[in-house]
């Protein structure tokens, strides 16, 4: 099965222990489903003030599809400035 890259920034990198994960691109996968999976696999994500995903460098909604070769990123609460 083909894969997509999952980038981990800020506290997400501490929680997963990785800068980048390769994950299987299951057919019909959406950002909403991936988010639910991550919350189950890494319960520490449930303690964050918010959790978003970006797909190909844009914020995703629940329905945003994820396909093989996509660049997906875990966006914990941002704190620039």
């Amino acid at each position: 099965m083909r894969e997509f890259a999952l980038l981990c920034f800020g506290i997400a990198r501490d929680i997963t222990g990785q800068r980048m994960l390769q994950r299987p691109a299951t057919p019909g996968l959406t950002a909403g489903e991936l988010q639910q999976t991550l919350l189950r696999e890494y319960p520490d994500f449930q303690t964050l003030a918010s959790l978003k995903l970006a797909v190909n460098q844009s914020y995703a909604t629940e329905d945003t599809p994820i396909a093989a070769g996509d660049e997906v990123a875990i966006i914990p609460p941002v704190s620039g400035g």
């Binding site: 980038l7 920034f9 800020g10 506290i11 501490d14 303690t47 964050l48 003030a49 970006a54 460098q57 844009s58 990123a73 966006i75 914990p76 609460p77 941002v78 704190s79 620039g80 400035g81």
Partner: protein, 140 residues
């Protein structure tokens, strides 16, 4: 000083340089916000901040924010520079400069950029104290 209007990087920020570089004789007002690293958070001494970004997305998000701000407030130009890596107390982490014919719009536009930047742009900072480190705003 980096001379792009939108820039994220490790070099020191230069508010005045950006003001001089981009000001035009039709401007009547320039509002510059310089966000500096405070030496304390809730009375705990801060040793330094470490900034990181999802760089391509952060640049892209800032470019969209710049264009939206110019349209929304009718200001002539907007420059946004953000530092990455380690920044010590007293040093600038972010600079936003707005150039406009009129001052009211310049103030509103500059405040708007900072509000949106803090909510939308994928940049993170970790505060280092004597007894540990904290990702800012991560937890409720």
């Amino acid at each position: 000083m980096n001379q792009e209007r939108i820039h994220i990087g490790r070099h020191r920020l230069d508010t005045e340089g950006l003001q001089n570089l981009y000001s035009q004789p039709q401007d009547g007002g320039i509002v510059a916000f310089t966000g500096t690293v405070r030496n304390a958070t809730r009375e705990r001494e801060v040793l330094h901040l470490d900034f990181e970004a999802y760089e391509p997305m952060a640049v892209h998000t800032l470019e969209q924010l710049r264009e939206k701000t110019m349209r929304k407030f009718g200001v002539r130009d907007v420059v946004i520079h953000h530092r990455l890596g380690r920044v010590l107390p007293g040093h600038a982490a972010v600079v936003v400069v707005v150039f406009s014919a009129h001052r009211k719009e310049a103030f509103e536009a500059c405040a708007y950029v900072m509000d949106r930047l803090k909510k939308e742009v994928p940049i993170w900072k970790k505060e280092a104290f004597v007894d540990g480190e904290v990702w800012v705003s991560a937890h409720p």
